[in-house]
């Protein structure tokens, strides 16, 4: 919402400075977005006479001018404008001033050997028009030395406020003035339009026809003014419209635009001679078309409202008029419309057709129903003043009536909601100035909202009005005690897991990425997603169309992008939501990581200390297990089984589970086909763990740890190497050994895996170290040998392994 300071002062009697007004506007909720103050910007620019202009001695195109600003001490200026000549009056600016059109601060200069102490300027240099053909020429009687901006009337500051959607009243300058007056910035100048007597009945009738459907037009007033002379509007009006960025069209159209901004009351004018028959306000027919005033043709449907005559729609109700019945220089008879429209319908139609008009801006916020008729009177008056003509009587269809809104307001409510103590006198003063009516004297009053405030619904709104106007800074900052609630952990298990997972992975050298929650459909499908209910209806781009079923695609893409930038060895992770459906319980928190090329868990990149080797499935496995450990997964209960989902290498991937039903996650090399589909180059390994799948630990009554039992006997370690089939799983060998005596055997480690020379093809050697922890007494060599024999026998039985010679 834009307006100028002078325009505001038509409604506000004030001595306040521009700065004070701007400050106050922001502090009462009319946030000032920008202030353009040409008067201030152009203050150094003064009117001056060229007393002498002679040819520059060293340049054909330049002239040396002596410029008088009225003090009788001419200043020498070198000027290149073709129209610079002796006797002309122009605009001069001295050194030190900023030239907006050039973006420079002017200096004393020497141009081709002649000193120049200032500048004669063009309109383009002042950014007041595109005209840069020559310097500004003013009439001879322009007062020398006076401010050019003031002389030209450019000193009217333009204020732009960022209006919130709840304030239709401030879509007009008078509404803004009312708010400022309530906040004690001057006095409101009320100007009620005069009622103008019609000289003849309006020859065009209006019918509101919505059949059985919801009526989209509560009321519609119309009047004909016959015998007008349309043409350019007067300069004051043009200037005002131009100042707020509107293009003057002709007097009739300019009047409607003016009243739209002046009073927040949009109007429409039809050229009566172009309207066939009577007007009917109805829903559009599906497929009906309208060439609107913006030169575009819109295809309408039944959800939209039009004003039609015998030849069809003439105007898109409350949004934009039609080209066919628009007013131009030849218009002699004008129909002026002032109507009310369903705000929601206006918003929906405007959005659907993509039209952002000044009328829509106001109607969708809800204009003052009580100003429908006065608005028409004001327009009539202006038309008669500017274009002459004879007005008809007003014809009205429907009823313009603001719903009566009376709020039962306990004055204690201000203290309750805002923490602010204020007397009823003060409250009443503010509300009354805003146009509210306050009845009653006691602790409970009745407050009636004015017709221009459809946003007022209840007590909280009244509190806001008072607080807004007296100033939020009057509310004392009040310490908020945390109360007697016991100090307990505030995070849920899931939240604790999430943050631990992040720190654990970062501590393993991975870098946390935050990638989009949506990926492309092919990628979603590749990773088990792509369901219809997870595909956005209005994606911002095709590659961001589907909710991600896995974090791997986003991370792989990120790793590849880094590789393309010259960082091939990256380890990235993300802990974020994945989507298996559109219900809350279908959203899971996944901890996922990828490692690329040489980004091993033992250290990334090449290093003198070890031979460079690509990442492998075990890097990913270690990451996965680290996350699970950090998130509190029970290590004893988890098993690792070969294989994983389709996007993993079938032979170099694994699944971590607690029994076959609860799958906690996967890890491994990514499948070459998946990499190809993701347009990524390996080697790339990944893991994914779903944090919700980790069973919750049992709540314990005490924080004390279990009693520590230390054996007084030394543990004994025995090594065994078994030759087994290649397919035998190391875990099975470990388990077989462990199960020989779960009490005595405290650990089984794998310290060597070997294939190749000395081992038959299709076989491998797996060497395990078994730690035996005697519990009750030191074991004899015979006892240990007996246990070792049992281990060999059990491993052999379970895995077919043969003790390596």
């Amino acid at each position: 919402m834009k307006f100028t300071l002078a325009w505001l002062k038509e409604y506000l009697d004030t001595d306040a400075s521009l700065d004070e007004i701007v400050q106050k506007l922001t502090m009462i909720g009319l946030e000032v977005e920008s202030v353009e103050d040409k008067g201030k910007q152009l203050a150094p620019y003064v009117i001056a006479k060229v007393v002498e202009a002679k040819q520059h001695p060293n340049a054909d195109r330049l002239r040396v001018c002596m410029v008088d600003t009225g003090d009788g001490n001419p200043i020498q200026v070198v000027c290149g404008a073709p129209n610079a000549r002796t006797g002309m009056t122009g605009v001069f600016v001295p050194p030190g001033a900023f030239v907006p059109g050039k973006g420079i601060t002017l200096q004393v200069g020497t141009i081709r050997g002649v000193e120049s102490r200032g500048m004669l300027v063009s309109e383009a240099e002042l950014e007041i028009s595109d005209d840069h053909d020559g310097i500004i020429e003013l009439p001879d009687d322009a007062p020398l030395g006076a401010s050019f901006a003031k002389y030209k009337g450019l000193d009217d500051a333009v204020i732009d406020i960022n209006l919130t959607p709840n304030r239709p009243d401030c879509t007009g300058v008078n509404g803004v003035a009312r708010d400022l007056a309530a906040a004690d910035i001057g006095a409101l100048k009320e100007r009620t339009p005069k009622s103008i007597k019609g000289e003849f009945p309006c020859p065009v009738s209006v019918k509101l026809d919505f059949g059985q459907t919801h009526p989209l037009c509560p009321a519609f007033a119309l009047r004909l003014v016959r015998g007008v002379k349309n043409g350019p509007s007067p300069e004051w009006l043009q200037k005002r419209l131009k100042a707020i960025g509107l293009r003057p069209i002709n007097a009739l159209v300019d009047i409607t635009n003016f009243i739209t901004h002046d009073r927040g009351r949009p109007l429409h004018v039809f050229d009566a001679k172009k309207v066939k028959g009577n007007l009917i306000v109805r829903r559009a027919n599906n497929g009906e078309q309208l060439l609107a005033l913006d030169g575009k043709t819109y295809t309408l449907d039944q959800a939209m409202c039009v004003i039609a005559d015998d030849s069809g729609p003439e105007s898109l109700a409350g949004i934009m008029g039609g080209e066919a019945s628009g007013c131009d220089e030849n218009t002699t008879d004008v129909l002026i419309e002032s109507a009310l429209w369903d705000p929601i319908n206006i918003a929906q139609t405007g959005r659907k057709l993509g039209i952002n008009s000044d009328a829509r801006y106001r109607f969708e916020r809800g204009v003052d129903p009580n100003f429908m008729a006065p608005g028409l009177e004001l327009a009539t008056q202006m038309v008669m003043e500017l274009c002459g003509g004879t007005p008809s009587e007003v014809t009205v269809a429907g009823k313009a009536e603001a719903p009566e809104k009376i709020v039962d307001f306990p004055t204690s409510e201000l203290k309750r909601l805002a923490g602010l103590d204020l007397s009823l006198i003060e409250m009443r003063r503010v509300l009354t100035k805003l146009g509210f009516f306050v009845a009653g004297q006691d602790s409970r009053v009745k407050v009636a909202a004015p017709s221009w405030r459809p946003d007022i619904e209840g007590k909280a709104d009244i509190v806001e009005e008072i607080v807004r106007i007296v100033g939020v800074d009057r509310i004392p900052s009040t310490p908020f005690d945390r109360g007697d609630a016991p100090r307990k952990p505030v995070l849920t298990t899931a939240q604790v897991r999430t943050r631990k997972a992040k720190r654990a992975l970062a501590a393993r050298g991975l870098t946390e990425a935050v990638t989009w929650s949506f990926i492309s459909k092919p990628q979603a499908e590749l990773f088990g997603g792509g369901a219809k209910e997870l595909a956005l209806a209005n994606p911002i781009a095709a590659e961001l169309s589907d909710m991600r079923p896995s974090l791997i695609p986003g991370l792989v893409a990120a790793a590849q992008k880094n590789a393309d930038r010259g960082f091939p060895d990256t380890a990235l992770f993300e802990v974020g939501q994945i989507f298996k459906g559109d219900k809350p319980e279908d959203q899971f928190m996944a901890a996922t990581g990828v490692r690329r090329a040489l980004a091993r868990s033992s250290g990334a990149g090449r290093h003198w200390s070890s031979k460079a080797a690509d990442v492998d499935a075990f890097d990913a496995k270690a990451d996965a297990l680290a996350v699970l450990a950090a998130a509190g997964a029970p290590a004893q209960a988890m098993q690792v089984v070969p294989g994983g989902p389709a996007w993993f290498h079938p032979g170099r991937s694994g699944t971590i589970q607690i029994g076959p039903q609860n799958i906690l996650g996967h890890f491994g090399e990514l499948h070459p086909r998946a990499l190809e589909a993701l347009d990524a180059e390996g080697p790339l390994v990944a893991f994914e763990v779903i944090l919700e799948r980790i069973p919750e630990g049992k709540a314990k009554a005490t924080r004390a740890k279990a009693v520590l039992e230390l054996s007084q006997f030394q543990p004994v370690t025995r090594d065994f190497a078994f030759v087994v089939d290649r397919a035998v799983k190391a875990a099975d060998i470990q388990r077989a050994a462990q199960n020989v005596d779960r009490k005595l055997i405290s650990g089984v480690g794998v310290f060597d895996v070997y294939e190749g020379q000395g081992i038959d093809a299709g076989k491998k050697s797996v060497a395990i170290a078994v730690t035996i922890q005697p519990r009750e007494k030191t074991m004899t060599d015979q006892e240990i040998d007996a246990l070792a024999a049992k281990i060999v026998a059990e491993v052999s039985k379970r895995t077919g392994g043969v003790l390596r010679a």
Binding site: G29, D461, R508
Partner: protein, 391 residues
């Protein structure tokens, strides 16, 4: 012992003083002279031994079965008690000193051998070690800031609430007092999913406020929560990304009013920006779900992209807040005449940018390892109020 300090002059070979080759050694009266001479000779021999083998030969010659000192010791048995009183200590003293000299010389040889070995065992200590994993890894600024927010608000008694990204229109808009078709809905460029058979549409939440609704529906007052999370709007340009992060706060409690809200936000700003004082400006504004509604600016000075708080004369908008709208309370089954509360919301990415000086929002989601290494946080830099949030 002075006499046994290794001699420095060159000496004749040790074998020249083999026992038995020396005449008149047992002669009485000459014994003490013999001891002194023998000690002199042995001392010279020990010093002259060039390696451990030579030293061993000296030892055998002196202390071996038929060594010169051993021979002297053997003479003690044939002496009178008086003679023994004099010669015993002298001969035993000689033996001890010879032993000590031998040991010292032997230790010298061992030390020299160790030194020689160590001299060959060098490493280039300037070679770089592998970067510690915990040094290499980074936590994203968004995670870090969420942890900071949690620390600050947990201290004021707030829990953390969360909710789904895919929401119903009802929770994202209707229950929050956004009337159907109201222009305020349009301010949220919403991502929708296809309509279901019943005509309803799921959407990606445009703010974290639906979690306010979920919290109020699930939990009885008093309520104190903060709600961090991902939010979405179909908007993408220099300063907007289709996905971003918000944190909201919600308090529902008897007597909670705007004055308390002001205090909480002031405390928050001081704690978060880690300055002693932040000037804040509360401006009336509009949000459908709060009434009265306010926007909050903080005073700052901006200098070449760096923002300093508590000074300067710029005002920077950082959050929106207000008293929970009576309609929202009603929609959540609460009686606005009985309970009341306030809420606020702000962009996590935005406050992270302000605090840590990132110039571009879009970089948050580009996973550029250079950016993350620079703006990310080390895993062990866990924000705590005790240790300073960002130190």
């Amino acid at each position: 012992m002075a006499g046994l300090v290794p001699a420095i002059h060159a000496l004749p070979p040790a074998k020249a003083w083999m026992p038995g080759t020396r005449p008149g050694m047992t002669r009485r009266g000459d014994v003490m002279t013999d001891i002194a001479q023998l000690e002199q000779e042995l001392s010279t021999a020990v010093a002259a031994a060039s390696d451990e083998a030579a030293l061993e030969a000296v030892r055998v010659a002196a202390l071996g079965k038929s060594g010169s000192v051993t021979a002297l010791l053997k003479t003690l048995g044939g002496l009178t008690p008086d003679e023994r009183k004099v010669q015993g200590p002298a001969i035993n003293g000689l033996k001890d000193r010879v032993n000590a000299a031998l040991n010292a010389r032997r230790d010298g040889f061992k030390g020299a051998a160790l030194d020689a070995r160590l001299a060959t065992e060098t490493v280039d200590v300037t070679l770089p070690v592998r970067e510690t994993a915990a040094e290499a890894g980074r936590v994203h600024p968004i995670s870090q800031v969420v942890d900071e927010l949690t620390a600050i608000f947990a201290d004021m008694g707030f829990a953390v609430a969360e909710g789904p990204d895919i929401e119903t229109d009802d929770y994202n808009f209707t229950k929050l007092n956004f009337p159907e078709g109201h222009p305020a809905r349009e301010m949220h460029d919403t991502f929708y999913f296809p309509p279901k058979p019943d005509g309803s549409r799921m959407l990606l939440r445009t703010h974290t406020s639906p979690v306010q609704v979920r919290t109020m529906l699930a939990q009885k007052p008093p309520i104190r929560v903060i709600i961090p999370g991902r939010t979405y709007r179909s908007d993408s340009d220099q300063t907007h990304t289709p996905m971003f992060h918000q944190v909201e706060g919600l308090v529902i409690d008897k007597g909670a009013h705007l004055g308390h809200l002001k205090w909480i936000l002031q405390e928050f700003c001081k704690a978060f920006f880690e300055v002693d004082n932040v000037n804040m400006r509360f401006r009336p504004s509009f949000f459908p779900f709060t009434e009265p509604s306010l926007e909050v600016d903080i005073q700052c000075r901006r200098d070449k992209g760096e923002v300093r708080f508590g000074e300067g004369d710029d005002w920077l908008e950082i959050l929106g807040c207000g008293m929970v709208h009576p309609n929202v309370l009603r929609n959540c089954g609460l009686d606005p005449d009985e309970v009341q509360g306030f809420a606020w919301g702000m962009g996590i990415d935005r406050i992270a940018m302000l605090k840590y000086g990132m110039p571009d929002l879009r970089a948050f989601f580009e996973a550029d390892v250079r950016w993350l290494a620079h703006y990310g946080f080390r895993p062990l830099d866990f924000p705590t109020l005790a240790g300073g949030l960002s130190t």
